[in-house]
């Protein structure tokens, strides 16, 4: 038996919002793979739950008219990975969420829950950062959309108000078209592991595939929240695909991070990972984009 005080199951987004308005302390539960474990551990023991499990409105992945890809917040990791649109247009996201937990967990854990729990280690987060994902939050006041890099406030803290529900994650066409990326999760084990460090890097190359037109770099667990590396992205713009560039890219990444020591790994080790994974993810992204270093 789980130790929670009350359980309120809703069938629609509006019902969920209504319930959140009435219950100040209630916690939203979707797939449950995070919330139930926290209840078991005692961290959330005695809480009140509002269950949005399998609400049809929060399901589905759609290509909107303007080319935006819309992902329902309650899509499971498994559903994201195996979706045709994701495979075709944003394979980096499918690969990233295919590294969360283990196979059974990926069939219940949701991408929206992964973001909303506010963990810096979320496997979907760094990839959504480099895809410039837009998060759609709904409340009684209406709907508003914010970029994911404004969503995280601190460990376990997000900008989502208690009475708001994340309904959708949107990735605009301009942010994924001709953009190739790669996510690397470093963990001590391949499965059932929380990232020691996560790194997502994506590139858009010049038509002759010799220069970088745009680079985006993001990390999980390199700071209290997932982060984007703005300065290095500005610096890398227009650079030629040379070995020196890759080396400097790794070095410069170190200037933008602030990892800490934890029982999982020391700060020093994480810094080493920051540099190394930046280079590896960059090289792989360039390869996906059809380019080559020192060609």
């Amino acid at each position: 038996m789980y130790d929670f005080e009350s359980f309120y199951k809703v069938e629609t987004v509006d019902e969920a919002i209504e319930a959140l308005e009435k219950q100040d302390e209630a916690i939203v539960i979707s797939g449950g793979s995070d919330v139930l474990v926290k209840i078991r551990e005692g961290k959330l023991a005695g809480c009140s739950l509002i269950s949005i499990h399998n609400i049809p409105e929060l399901k589905g992945i759609r290509l909107l008219e303007d080319g935006t890809i819309s992902i329902g917040a309650a899509q499971t990791f498994y559903e994201v990975t195996n979706n045709e649109l994701v495979r075709r247009y944003i394979p980096i996201l499918g690969n990233a969420v295919d590294q969360a937990g283990g196979p059974q967990l990926r069939k219940v854990g949701t991408i929206g829950g992964n973001i909303c729990n506010g963990a810096t280690s979320a496997d979907s987060a760094s990839t959504l950062f480099i895809l410039n994902a837009q998060l759609v939050l709904k409340s009684k006041k209406g709907v508003h959309t914010i970029p994911i890099n404004e969503f995280y406030l601190g460990p376990g803290k997000t900008i989502r108000e208690h009475n708001e529900l994340l309904t959708e994650i949107r990735i605009p066409r301009k942010d994924y078209e001709q953009f190739y990326g790669h996510y690397i999760k470093y963990g001590k084990r391949k499965a059932m592991e929380i990232a020691t460090l996560g790194c997502a890097c994506g590139v858009r190359l010049s038509p002759d595939k010799r220069k970088v037109e745009e680079v985006r770099l993001s990390y999980g667990v390199a700071a209290p929240t997932p982060i984007r590396c703005g300065s290095i992205e500005a610096w890398a713009c227009g650079k030629e695909l040379k070995k020196d560039f890759v080396e400097l890219f790794g070095k410069k990444a170190l200037e933008e991070v602030n990892p800490r020591s934890s029982w999982r790994a020391s700060k020093e080790f994480r810094l080493q990972l920051v540099e190394e994974l930046a280079k590896r993810a960059l090289i792989q992204a360039v390869t996906y984009a059809g380019g080559e270093i020192d060609a």
Partner: protein
């Protein structure tokens, strides 16, 4: 407070009264007597409690019974044929000595059912990833992979 849910368990429609706080694992074991579903870590790490929910392997320890209302669940008890004979995947596990203490076995067999049920062909590496949600402390996994490959092969080759 008890609530009534309707679940199809191993092909049979069941009406069960459950607590809100109850996990699917507890309902299957304690109310329906399906003790092949093992209680291991209870936090979704070991895979001993794996069942098929609408054909997909999930950890029943981190799934609330109320969510299973209207859905279909399969446990290892549902694999045997009418005359009580073991399913070919179970037989492959025996033949390949993929079972030692047996605690992880029901869960692994259900994951194997899902893997073998789809029409894709997997490399050994892919299979390793597909069974990575299960902990086995006896076999070292090699015989389990052999059994799954064997059963997959026999299905493809008829």
């Amino acid at each position: 407070m008890l609530k009534v849910i309707n679940i199809k368990v191993n092909g049979i429609d069941r009406e069960v009264a459950v607590q809100e706080q109850e996990s699917l694992l507890e309902t299957l074991r304690n109310r329906l007597g399906l003790t092949s579903v093992k209680k291991g870590c209870e936090v979704g790490e070991c895979g001993a409690c794996t069942v098929l929910l609408n054909g997909k392997a999930i950890d029943s320890c981190i799934y609330l019974s109320l969510w299973a209302d209207g859905q279909s669940v399969v446990t290892v008890e549902g694999l045997k044929s009418e005359n009580g004979e073991l399913n070919y995947i179970q037989k492959a596990f025996i033949k390949e000595a993929a079972v030692q203490c047996g605690f992880c076995t029901p869960g692994l067999i259900l994951t194997a059912v899902e893997i073998i049920g789809d029409d894709r062909i997997y490399s050994r590496e892919e299979l390793r990833k597909l069974i990575s949600g299960h902990l086995c402390r006896c076999t070292g996994y090699e015989n389990i992979l052999n059994a799954i490959e064997k059963a997959k092969g026999s299905k493809i080759n008829g």
